[in-house]
Point group: C2
Chain length 208, copies 2
């Protein structure tokens, strides 16, 4: 953006500030990445930007329900950055086939290098570190983040009568396979999620 570079130069040419502001402007593009989940008024698909905000606050509030203790603030920060790579890589549907899931890893790694690479090195390392820990799912924190990242779409989809599952022909077996990950991090959240799913099956919103 010419106007951005011109203003940075006119303001003194601080390269650290320049890197930060280029990244901040780049973040706006996450608002143009649609997910498969509808916002609960049903008017349109949720954007990645909205999703990261929503799960970030949910993580802050629900961290105490993790089976292994996690820091609520670090959980919130992890969730606030976890889908930034989708600015380049796009949203991969959680019910996509194995080929699409495998390709996702390659695309997202390249995206992380380019996008987080816009930042000053120390901040790049902080953001990359949170994203890599999230993707690896080897820590209690990352498992809890994954649980929150599943729980909210499940609730939102139920709030619009399972529209995403119905539009994509998603069956109960697939939904349980994806969402049982919640139980790997939080027994109380999985109890709740399982109750939502059981009632959805009973009510004909989710086919066996």
């Amino acid at each position: 953006m010419d106007w951005l570079e011109e203003a940075l130069e006119a303001a003194g040419g601080d390269e650290r500030l320049a890197r930060q502001l280029r990244f901040v402007l780049e973040l706006d593009r996450a608002k143009s990445v649609p997910r498969r989940t509808y916002i609960t008024d049903g008017s349109r698909l949720e954007s990645d930007g909205e999703h990261m905000w929503h799960v970030m606050l949910a993580g802050l509030l629900l961290a105490e329900h993790a089976d292994e203790p996690v820091d609520p603030v670090r959980l919130a920060l992890m969730l606030a950055v976890h889908d930034i790579v989708e600015i380049d890589a796009g949203d991969t549907f959680i019910y996509a086939d194995a080929d699409a899931q495998a390709d996702k890893v390659v695309r997202e790694k390249a995206a992380a290098e380019r996008i987080f690479g816009l930042l000053p090195d120390d901040q790049r390392d902080t953001f990359s570190g949170l994203w890599e820990e999230f993707e690896a799912r080897q820590t209690p924190l990352a498992r809890m983040a994954a649980a929150i990242d599943r729980l909210l779409p499940l609730m939102m989809n139920r709030a619009v009568d399972a529209r995403t599952w119905r539009e994509h022909g998603i069956r109960a077996g697939q939904v349980y396979a994806v969402n049982s990950r919640i139980g790997e991090a939080s027994s109380p959240l999985w109890s709740f999620a399982a109750a939502v799913l059981a009632a959805a099956e009973r009510d004909g919103l989710l086919e066996s």
Copy 2:
């Protein structure tokens, strides 16, 4: 929501979890509150949910540019919650007249009581406290949050050739009056913002 209450009851009736999940679902409505700023692809107005995510990360990254030291994480959390009240109160245009601005205070206070009141008391106090500190603008943290909250719309609006200013007939004097608040918190960010505005005037995007 009947399905939510039913699942909470089936999962054991934990009232604390119930309050948290009702609030989390309520947050989704911030995605349906449009702001006056366009997302930078120009396709639609930004939602409150997207805005809170964007300023939250900007705060985390730019906190170091505050003239008085502020905690980056607390700044990020303040920005992540600062417009939740608009779920009930709606977005008040920063260039609205004095009557609309005065009415805003009354509407937002009632909104804060209802929405944050959904939470367990300790979490309600945390969220309300961040929001009240932000609104009062008496601390370095709150002033820096206000600066970030001005800087991003300014950048985004410039990225789409000042579309919001042009659509609403906003003049340079108004823009400087609103955005000079940035300079009350951060000299480097105001130097940058002032350079953006000066170039916009020169280029005919902002009328004197």
